[in-house]
């Protein structure tokens, strides 16, 4: 919204009215430079009193300004002669300028001003002003005034509006303000941002008793200005005079991209001069400052280090370039320019055949030039030639990002040639001036011999492993089981013989019967005797072969057999022996009877034993 201006028409009507002024009269008028103003703006009221004689001017009584605050006032006199109808007439004009700021929104009225002059009372007309909410009218609301900001010779605007620390200040605010500002609120990572802290005052400030700066995490910082004394610089803001004091100025180098906030600074002030009772103390804080740190643009060249941001130059020198073998030369690599020198990464010299390199030393030198941090980083490295002949130190290159050009650049040094000659006789090689520090780490060299590993599965994952583990207990259990079974199944031959003794005897008797059928009487009786003696041996355990008949009888009796059984046994054996060796060997019925007797004896022996 643009305020409507009325001042030009008023001045024109005033100048036309002047010739009509008679002596002893006063012309009083008032005008505002706008009929509409924002709540955070200012308005200039000009009251003009023109007298037609040289007498004492009347006393101007300003309106009470019920709806306005007076934030500034000035007065000027003008004397002039006007020729009207061929006769000169005198004019004395007193211009009173009052700067006002509204207290509320709405239609407000500037009450009439009053002058008592030569017994008369003169009044201006009331002026109606429409006040809109803050920010809806052009800040200041006043008509462009060629004299604005030049009353004290100080320009009104000293920085682009968005970065001016006082851009949001209007005289309706307090008398003491602390403002922080940055010169660039969208810097790249590593680019300098200048942060300044100002005090703006409409009262006298005698000293600063406290200054608490914000923590500046996420930035490299360098002090640019730290004034030891308060030096006032006049500023006019919306027609109101202030004194601006620079409290601190620092260079910030953002370390990472993204939104960043610089927290408020706190300031303690002593105001007033002289008398003890006119002094006072105040505390103020600045506003937080927001930064939107831009990441470095894409397309980083290989080997670019994020610390290499700025406007740099790179040079390399070697001294001396003619040297005897074993004598050191100094390679000096110098980067200088604008930017954060402490974060700068200079290129490293690689291995050069014929040169032994020692650890480099680095030194930095920083200065401030027109608010910009500049510096020089110097890397010095001692090189000792180990052979004669020409040796070239190759060109070194460094990638940088220049935020001014918003582009990456490659800085290159020129290659430097060394001429190494043989050392004069008797000259000892220079003593090592530094130790060769061998830091652990880094990738190891490759291996040249190949040894293969088998892809075999682990034994426990083989199908045979778990059965093999189960085999021993299973085997032992099997062995024990078989043994027990065998023991259970095993037959005692002694018992078997005893058990089968009767069967064997019966078989022999059947054999004897067969012999009898063939007519072999000797064999028949021998077989009967063998059946009985065999039974005695098997069943009774009596070997009759080596025994006399008495001993046999005694042995059988000892086995618990009855006397009759023993007697029958002995007689049977005797009969068999006799019949076997006697001619004829008896008749058939006798032989049948012998079989019957043998069977009876065996039965008795069997029973008796049982």
């Amino acid at each position: 919204m643009t305020p409507r201006r009325t001042g030009s028409a008023l001045l024109l009507s005033l100048s036309l009215a002047l010739p009509a002024l008679a002596a002893g009269e006063l012309t009083l008028s008032a005008s505002a430079d706008a009929d509409e103003v924002a709540l955070d703006g200012t308005l200039r009221l000009q009251i003009s009193a023109t007298y037609a004689d040289r007498g004492e001017p009347g006393q101007l009584e300003l309106p009470p300004f019920a709806d306005f605050d007076v934030v500034g006032r000035s007065q000027s006199d003008q004397m002039s002669f006007v020729f009207s109808n061929g006769a000169p007439s005198f004019r004395h004009t007193i211009l009173t300028n009052v700067t006002l700021t509204p207290r509320r929104v709405g239609d407000l009225t500037i009450e009439p001003a009053r002058v008592e002059y030569q017994g008369k009372t003169y009044r201006t007309q009331p002026i109606r002003i429409h006040v809109v909410p803050a920010g809806q009218a052009r800040r200041g609301g006043g008509r462009p005034d060629p004299s604005a900001g030049t009353d004290d010779g100080a320009p009104e605007d000293r920085a682009p509006d968005g970065l001016d620390p006082f851009a949001d200040v209007h005289p309706g605010q307090r008398d003491l303000l602390v403002r922080a500002s940055v010169d660039n609120d969208r810097p790249f990572v590593g680019q300098q941002v200048t942060w300044s802290l100002y005090l703006l005052s409409r009262v006298n400030v005698s000293s600063l008793d406290k200054l608490l700066l914000p923590r500046l995490d996420g930035f490299w910082t360098e002090d640019i200005e730290s004034p030891q004394q308060l030096v006032a610089e006049p500023r006019t803001i919306d027609g109101v005079q202030y004194s601006a004091y620079l409290l601190r100025r620092r260079a910030l180098f953002p370390l990472r991209a993204g939104k960043a906030t610089i927290e408020p600074a706190e300031v303690g002030l002593v105001t007033g001069f002289g008398m003890l009772f006119s002094r006072g103390s105040s505390r103020r804080s600045s506003q937080p400052v927001q930064l939107d740190v831009q990441p470095l643009p894409p397309g980083r060249p290989p080997g670019f280090d994020p610390g290499n941001v700025g406007d740099w130059t790179l040079t390399a020198t070697v001294e001396p370039v003619n040297v005897a073998v074993g004598q050191p030369v100094t390679l000096r690599l110098v980067a200088s320019g604008r930017g954060n020198v402490r974060d700068l990464q200079l290129p490293k010299l690689g291995n050069i055949a014929g040169l032994r390199a020692y650890d480099p030393t680095t030194s930095d030198h920083e200065t401030v030039d027109k608010g910009q941090v500049t510096g020089t980083r110097t890397v010095e490295q001692l090189l000792v030639p180990e052979r004669t002949g020409p040796v070239e130190i190759p060109a070194l290159s460094m990638e940088i990002f220049d935020p001014a050009q918003k582009a990456y650049r490659t800085l290159r040094t020129a290659p430097v040639g060394l001429s190494v000659v043989a050392a004069p006789q008797g000259q000892a090689p220079a003593e090592p001036v530094a130790q060769n520090l061998l830091a652990a780490g880094g990738m190891r060299p490759i291996r040249l011999r190949l040894a293969t590993a088998s892809a075999g599965a682990a034994p426990w994952s083989e199908p045979w492993f778990w059965p093999a583990l189960g085999a021993p207990p299973f085997g032992l259990a099997l062995l024990l089981g078989v043994s027990r079974l065998r023991r259970m199944m095993m037959i005692d031959p002694e018992r078997q013989r005893v058990k089968l003794a009767r069967t064997a005897a019966a078989r022999r008797l059947r054999g004897a019967q067969a012999l009898l059928a063939r007519g072999d009487a000797g064999a028949f009786y021998a077989e009967i005797a063998r059946a009985v003696t065999g039974y005695l041996a098997d069943k009774q355990g009596i070997l009759s072969a080596g025994l006399t008949r008495e001993e046999l009888a005694e042995a059988v009796a000892r086995r618990g057999h009855g006397e009759e059984t023993v007697r029958r046994l002995i007689r049977l054996l005797d009969d068999c022996d006799r019949m076997r060796f006697s001619p004829g060997s008896g008749d058939a019925p006798a032989r049948e009877a012998m079989l019957g007797r043998a069977d009876q004896v065996l039965s008795e022996l069997d029973r008796g034993r049982a």
Binding site: G441, G442, M443, R444, P445, I446, R447, L448, R449, L450, A451, T452, A453, S454, A455, G456, A457, A458, P459, W460, S461, F465, A468, L469, A471, P472, P473, G475, L476, L479, L480
Partner: protein
């Protein structure tokens, strides 16, 4: 026939050695791409060698392929857990990893224990376990058959103690091997870890090349990955590669 087979194997070994030497020469002359091609050719032929894997890892590291470099160093350690070069290179490589695991290790250091156990002679211990186990049972059988004797008791005690030791070593080696078979390395520059095995599932976090994790499951084109601090997500199968070499027992040959 056997002689012919032996001759063929020897000829194949000689060719492999020559290829390895050529790859090393290419690497040393700065032709890393050719060195990698030769090393990979050897690996695809089924050559399992910690030296081959270490060299391949170094070559990939030179090319800036951190994921593949880490994978081959891990493979070298899988083949030879005592390989100092591979271990050192892996530590150096991991210094530049994008992923930094925060929080306590959920595995309770099991990974570390497995690493410590890896050099144990598992195969020898398993065979010893088998022999000692059998001996214990034989001694028991003798005791049952012939009754106890002093020497038999001493022998049985010694045998049992050795059996316990070999069982422990075998268990440790088996645990380590089991974990090693699940180990995988992220080889893609970055991969989203999703809630489920689908591109439509929401992404929980992102993993970057060189990060080692455990593969817990597979489904379609995704693998369920568990990081050492317990973070779990499904990542595309092509983004992670198992450490166990293709063709190793328990893992098939890669699909051609």
């Amino acid at each position: 026939m056997t002689l012919l087979l032996a001759l063929l194997l020897a000829a194949s070994d000689a060719q492999g050695m020559q290829l390895f030497a050529d790859a090393n020469a290419a690497y040393l002359s700065g032709d890393v791409a050719r060195a990698i091609a030769s090393y990979e050719a050897l690996a695809s032929e089924g050559v399992l060698s910690p030296q081959l894997e270490t060299n391949l890892g170094s070559a990939y590291a030179r090319q800036g392929k951190r994921g593949l470099a880490a994978l081959h160093f891990e493979r070298a350690l899988f083949l030879d857990p005592g390989d100092d070069d591979a271990r050192s290179d892996l530590v150096e490589l991991r210094r530049g990893n994008v992923d930094r695991l925060e929080g306590e290790l959920e595995e309770g250091g099991a990974e570390t224990v497995a690493r410590l156990l890896a050099p144990l002679p598992g195969a020898v211990a398993a065979i010893a376990l088998l022999v000692l186990w059998s001996a214990c049972w034989v001694l028991l059988g003798v005791r049952i058959a012939r009754g106890g004797s002093r020497w038999a008791s001493i022998a049985a005690t010694g045998c049992f103690a050795a059996l316990l030791l070999s069982a422990l070593v075998t268990w440790g080696a088996a645990a380590s091997r089991r974990m090693a078979l699940q180990r995988a390395v992220v080889i893609a520059a970055a991969a989203p870890a999703r809630e489920g095995p689908s591109d439509k599932s929401s992404s929980r976090f992102e993993v970057h090349e060189g990060t080692t994790a455990r593969v817990e499951d597979e489904d379609g084109g995704f693998r369920r990955l568990k990081l050492a601090n317990g973070l779990v997500g499904w990542v595309p199968k092509a983004a992670v590669e198992l450490v166990v070499p293709p063709g190793w027992a328990g893992r098939g040959r890669p699909e051609s």
